[in-house]
């Protein structure tokens, strides 16, 4: 299914709950609120003719200081979900709006296990909390790191010094669904 048709399917199903749909160079995306995220993603994963069984990537974006004229975002952050269907060989992009006052998004690690570490990375670098995540610790920065390094208001070369090596936990000790 091509991405325009997927957008049409989502719009038909979730029309009143979508914050927006976007097209850029033939790539389609929809934006949803944090409250609707799990419903949309679960539906995309389980619907027989969509079957997005692979979360290819999950990333954070900080739009502070973003100066495109047509940018009408009322929120500062977004978390972007890149989906792929091994069954149908099609792709789709879902973004979730994250407000600065309460940067919290439901975790999807139980839908795609791979989200576990990706969500930890977004938490580490952007400070977006993922509610329901079993192990939301920093994954890249030192465990004593203060702040979130890829936020636009973090000084680009503010370096923090650490006296001891970061704690190493070899196993997440997670009960897999």
């Amino acid at each position: 299914m091509d991405e325009a048709s997927i957008t049409a399917r989502i719009t038909a199903r979730f029309s009143e709950r979508l914050l927006g749909t976007y097209t850029f160079r033939g790539q389609h995306a929809v934006t949803v609120g944090a409250g609707d995220l799990r419903a949309v993603l679960t539906w995309l994963r389980d619907e027989p003719d969509l079957q997005f069984d692979w979360l290819m990537d999950l990333a954070g974006v900080d739009y502070q200081g973003y100066d495109l004229e047509d940018d009408e975002r009322a929120w500062r952050f977004e978390v972007v979900y890149q989906l792929y269907s091994l069954k149908h060989n099609h792709r789709f992009r879902v973004k979730v709006a994250v407000h600065e006052e309460n940067p919290e998004v439901p975790s999807v690690w139980d839908l795609w296990g791979v989200a576990n570490w990706m969500e930890r990375e977004v938490w580490d670098l952007y400070g977006v909390r993922f509610s329901g995540h079993p192990n939301l610790r920093r994954i890249l920065c030192h465990d004593e790191f203060v702040g979130h390094a890829l936020r636009k208001d973090y000084p680009i070369n503010k370096r923090q010094k650490f006296e001891r090596p970061s704690e190493v936990i070899l196993c997440d000790k997670v009960e897999w669904a």
């Binding site: 920065c141 973090y154 680009i156 070369n157 503010k158 370096r159 010094k161 650490f162 090596p165």
Partner: protein
């Protein structure tokens, strides 16, 4: 027919420093702290074409207890800084440090939140090698610089 026929007297007289420094400088045991692409270049330094064993430093050790030449090759991030410090502290004296490449020496082009701006913020460095990455000849040149430095050392000063 050999050398022994040429040597009439089995004893020679020299300074203690000369003998010990001579032994040390031709038997450095390197510890590779390789974090980036410079470590790949180090493989070239060790391999046959350039062959660091010509300088007696081919016995690469992966335990700091057994090494006396620390080769820091690559980008060192702030999270890794305490690890590098700990490894340096674990090496027994006498020890020397070779900082290989732009990243280890100055942070390279990574002027950001995560990268140490030169390992001399953490540990003393004997020789810096420029390059991104340096040619193997540069590294061998740096090893020879350390040899010259060992030559000037007084054994009594190591405590």
């Amino acid at each position: 027919m050999g050398l022994e026929t040429q040597v009439q007297n089995p004893f020679i007289v020299t300074r203690m420093d000369e003998v010990i420094n001579w032994g040390r400088k031709y038997s450095m045991w390197p510890l590779p702290f390789g974090t980036a692409c410079c470590a790949i270049e180090f493989m070239g330094v060790v391999s046959g074409r350039f062959d660091i064993s010509r300088f007696g430093a081919e016995l690469v050790r992966f335990s700091p207890r057994q090494a006396d030449l620390l080769l820091v090759m690559g980008t060192v991030c702030q999270k890794q800084a305490p690890v590098l410090k700990q490894i340096y502290d674990q090496m027994p004296n006498p020890k020397w440090v070779l900082s290989m490449g732009a990243c280890a020496s100055s942070g390279g082009f990574y002027d950001n939140y995560s990268v140490v701006q030169g390992i001399d913020e953490l540990i003393p460095v004997d020789v810096y090698v420029a390059g991104c990455p340096p040619r193997p000849e540069n590294v061998l040149g740096a090893v020879m610089k350390i040899m010259e430095k060992i030559d000037r050392e007084r054994v009594a000063e190591w405590r």
